[in-house]
């Protein structure tokens, strides 16, 4: 296993030759100073991270993520360094914060305070100090504190009283750049230099890395005691945080974005062909979330367990849809063809058209997101894109085989489409089917992966292959690293894989262990300073 892993690590920038269809390769790792480190950066929290931060500050969930303008995505992930606060974002955020704070202060003032309002200025000062520290995720300077106290007094003027002061301070903190941006800068250093993050920046980085939420009191205490400057200290905190149920959100979010199903709740299917879809959609998404929780908690979030667990985590509605005899968190489902994530209705619905399956979408997904093979888009090759016209008595596979016969399309689609055909046993909303257009279905396909020919009887066979395949495991780790680190950086990805490689065999497939190992490594608390 180790030898194969090392060999394919060398093939990280795999060059793939097929006429007209050369997958892109990543840049070679730099040997420069700071190799493998993430860049120093100031990144705006994603909408979901902001929502969790708001929840931590107000003590109650407020659904703002969907009300904000959508995040800019990089590689499909919402956590990234490209987020900003353009006009339109700022105005919307400001209005949402105003309403959320008014409601929190109106309904639960005392829960927001570390003291009783009757204690007057003392309570004001205690509230300001506590709220500002938690919002800024660092000790607050004297001038910042004084400005907040003045703001409190301005808010408390007239009828508004103490309540008005609290409201204005919370509004300012929740809109403040010190809260909105995660700073991973360390001390000033010239471009190309390497910096070490201070204890509070490490605490925030660690918490947002693992949980997508601000540090808790214990993590701040560890920062204060200087414990986060050692790998062991960071590891202790990481393991503690991984034990929190709130950390599961982050893993669900990763899988939803990696599988490109996080937009499924806004997708539609033909009401004529799939009248059940609207009703079942929330159950589908709930299934994937429950499945990820189960695999994360009890299976270490390994790729093998995600794609080939052999069980489903279904409620009664999804159990009926899958023709399972039982419902619950671990219902054996392999004999129904449901090996893991790739046979879940959420995934199969997201990667299909509103009215029919799409071997191209499903095959393309497997190449891009499971094997990290990027093919050129047709427009880049100046190819006329002819959608296969649906004909009566023609299966989707027959339709796409005809389309892929076109010489200009063939070189790519010979790679893509067969990986999609193996899913043809599921319709456009993931229901098992044995016939298409009145004809028996064929799910078996010969597939070429990185130049090697493989035969899969169906998608479950593909899942079993992916579960064991070294390149798929690496791709999974790279995808996870892009999400958790909120950065696409080939050099840092390679360093992450090297950290994982150094783990004992029995822990190497466990994503939780991989993330902990990275947090523990020297890479975590240092950054390279990018060029201007």
């Amino acid at each position: 296993m180790s030898a194969a892993f090392v060999a394919t690590l060398g093939a990280f920038c795999f060059a793939f030759a097929a006429a007209g269809c050369a997958p892109s390769s990543g840049p070679a790792a730099s040997a420069a100073h700071g190799e493998g480190l993430l860049p120093a950066r100031v990144r705006r929290l994603s909408n979901v991270e902001y929502e969790r931060t708001l929840e931590a500050l107000l003590g109650k969930a407020v659904p703002v993520a969907r009300a904000l303008p959508p995040d800019v995505r990089q590689d499909g992930y919402t956590r990234n360094a490209a987020q900003a606060v353009p006009p339109g974002y700022g105005t919307r955020l400001s209005a949402l914060v105003r309403d959320a704070v008014a409601s929190a202060v109106g309904e639960r003032l005392e829960e927001l305070l570390p003291c009783h309002p009757r204690s007057g200025d003392a309570c004001r000062d205690a509230f300001v100090a506590d709220a500002a520290f938690r919002a800024f995720r660092r000790p607050v300077g004297a001038s910042e504190k004084a400005a907040l106290e003045r703001l409190f007094d301005a808010g408390a003027r007239g009828e508004a009283g103490f309540r008005g002061g609290v409201e204005l301070v919370l509004r300012a903190l929740l809109e403040s750049p010190s809260l909105l941006y995660l700073r991973e800068l360390g001390p000033a250093a010239p471009p190309g230099g390497v910096v070490t993050l201070g204890p509070y920046q490490v605490a925030s980085s660690l918490s947002y890395f693992l949980r997508g939420a601000p540090p808790d009191a214990e993590l701040y205490a560890a920062a204060r005691r200087g414990e986060l400057s050692t790998g062991e200290g960071r590891e202790r905190q990481a393991r503690r945080l991984l034990g929190h149920s709130g950390t599961r959100h982050q893993f669900r979010q990763f899988v939803m974005e990696w599988l490109e199903i996080d937009a499924l709740d806004q997708a539609a299917k033909s009401e004529t062909l799939f009248p059940e879809f609207e009703r079942l959609r929330p159950h589908m998404l709930a299934e994937t979330r429950a499945f990820v929780d189960e695999v994360m908690v009890n299976e270490g979030a390994s790729l093998a367990s995600l794609v080939d667990a052999g069980f489903a985590a279904v409620d009664p509605a999804m159990a009926r849809f899958y023709a399972l005899d039982a419902y619950g968190a671990r219902v054996p489902a392999r004999d129904r063809g449901r090996a893991g994530l790739l046979q879940q209705a959420s995934f199969l619905s997201a990667h299909a058209h509103p009215d029919m399956t799409s071997p191209v979408k499903r095959g393309d997904f497997v190449l891009r997101r499971m094997l990290c093979i990027e093919l050129p888009r047709p427009a880049e090759l100046d190819i006329e894109i002819v959608m296969p016209r649906p004909l009566a008595r023609q299966t989707a596979r027959e339709r796409f085989i005809a389309h892929s016969a076109d010489p200009s399309c063939r070189s790519c689609h010979a790679l893509i489409d067969p990986l999609g055909y193996v899913f043809e046993g599921f319709d456009a909303m993931g229901k098992t089917r044995a016939i298409d257009a009145g004809k028996p279905l064929r799910t078996a396909a010969d597939v070429a992966i990185r130049g090697e020919r493989r035969y899969f009887a169906d998608s479950a066979a593909l899942s079993a292959f992916l579960a064991r395949n070294v390149e798929a495991k690496q791709c999974y780790l790279r995808q996870a690293f892009r999400f958790f680190s909120a950065q696409t950086d080939a050099d840092a990805e390679r360093a992450f894989l090297e950290v994982v490689l150094a783990l004992p065999d029995e822990r190497r497939d466990n994503l939780l262990e991989a993330l902990v190992a990275y947090v523990k490594s020297d890479l975590f608390a240092r950054r390279k300073v990018p060029a201007p």
Partner: protein, 424 residues
């Protein structure tokens, strides 16, 4: 040439989907737009003063989204090239943001810019016209009721007027703190992070505008009834309401421009897929109309049966542009508007970003020679690229911003120079 009235010039960038059926996009002899199946037929409609809308129209064929083609930002992704003159690697602002924010021409109005879209507020390349400097897409408004509230707010009573004044006072206190916090952060941030933080400063200036009392500039229109568009998004059941949504957005935009609530705007139109607007068209316009288009080329006569459905889709988009022009004309400001209307593709079946259908509409303050067809097109194969950057340079100059370059390309010639032919 339409003389300008001396009012400040207003800009609207409009995206139309699915390129064009070029055969039915080109005007007939004598600038005839009314021939059978012509996609530009809506511009034959009358305008005030015995004119027609087409008297305020410059039809341009043969422009290429060159900066995108050079770096592979083509097909649907090329929407970002239209107003930025840059591919995905560009970091410059789109022309609406450049003129309004960076050149300060939007400073006087309550809304520096308006960014509108039908059916999708996605931040991806293929869904956005407007970008801030640094390459960040500007968030879009897709809900006509939300747009109305942004523009016109709620009617004020004496009590609510006092409440509003108090809220503005509190809002300004919050803003002062946030601004000081941003200044502290910016001062400590290294150079590579400052551009993003500078964008945040722009955002705060917009909040400040919202907190300033407004003089009454015009009558409030009726608020669009949200019950008429219970869903707003594509592929999520919104399509059946797009006709209402588009018309509402267009009417509110015209009112905002006429009332000088903004001078810079963009509008990203949606296609007819799943809308059932025309029973004779297939339900899936993208797959079954745009992808089936077979143009006439030097090598092939094409398939005329595929031209008409695409031209009908195009005509629908141009009908919305004509509606906007009519509303502006009714308000007496059409002569002082410059609309730049284009698509991400020319031939949609190839996803080609060459020969993108292009219109300049509105009097443009008398800067361009209107009421004519400008055929700049060479053959698809072999001819040199004609970058749309030249149109962007010409538009900047029309607004009195004397740039010679616009956009980003490794080839300086792509981004340099105006398109003199626009002036006749």
């Amino acid at each position: 040439m339409s003389p300008g009235s001396g009012l400040p010039l207003r800009f609207v960038g409009v995206y139309t989907p699915h390129g064009s059926a070029r055969e039915l996009f080109r005007p007939g002899p004598g600038f005839d737009l009314g021939y059978e199946d012509a996609s530009l037929a809506p511009f034959e409609a009358p305008a005030r003063g015995g004119k027609r809308l087409k008297d305020y129209l410059l039809v341009i064929d043969g422009v290429d989204l060159a900066a995108g083609i050079q770096v592979g930002t083509v097909g649907h992704d090329a929407a970002r090239v239209i107003l930025t003159g840059s591919g995905a690697d560009g970091k410059n602002a789109s022309i609406d943001q450049f003129l309004a924010v960076e050149s300060g021409l939007g400073a006087e109005t309550p809304h520096t810019t308006l960014t509108l879209a039908v059916g999708s507020d996605d931040a991806g390349l293929g869904f956005n016209l407007s970008y801030s400097r640094g390459g960040t897409p500007v968030p879009k408004v897709i809900d006509p009721a939300a747009l109305f509230d942004e523009l016109f707010g709620v009617p004020l009573t004496a009590a609510s007027r006092r409440q509003l004044a108090e809220e503005r006072r509190r809002g300004r206190s919050v803003l002062d703190f946030v601004r000081a916090d941003l200044a502290r952060l910016s001062a400590r941030a290294p150079g590579f992070a400052r551009e993003r933080l500078e964008l945040h400063h722009t955002s705060l200036r917009e909040i400040e505008k919202r907190l300033s009392p407004r003089s009454r500039r015009c009558e409030r229109p009726e608020r669009p009834d949200p019950a008429r568009f219970p869903k707003l998004r594509s592929f999520a059941g919104g399509e059946r309401y797009f006709e209402t949504v588009t018309d509402s957005l267009v009417d509110l935009l015209a009112r905002a421009l006429a009332c000088d609530l903004t001078r810079f705007s963009t509008l990203f139109l949606s296609d007819l897929t799943l809308t059932r607007t025309y029973p004779e068209l297939p339900n899936d316009i993208h797959s079954d109309v745009a992808h089936r288009y077979r143009p006439r080329t030097g090598r092939s006569p094409g398939d005329p049966a595929t031209w008409r459905p695409l031209a009908l889709q195009n005509r629908h988009s141009y009908g919305k542009v004509a509606r906007l022009m009519q509303r502006l004309d009714e308000a007496g400001v059409l002569a002082d508007c410059l609309l730049y209307v284009s698509s991400d593709m020319g031939d949609p079946a190839r996803h080609s970003s060459r020969n993108v259908p292009t219109l300049i509409c509105g009097g443009s303050g008398g800067r361009f020679k209107l009421g004519r067809y400008l055929d700049l097109g060479g053959p698809e194969e072999g001819s040199e690229l004609l970058p749309n950057n030249r149109i962007l340079v010409s538009i900047c100059q029309a607004f009195g911003v004397p740039v010679q370059r616009f956009g980003h390309s490794a080839d300086p010639a792509t981004v340099t120079g105006a398109l003199a032919a626009l002036s006749g």
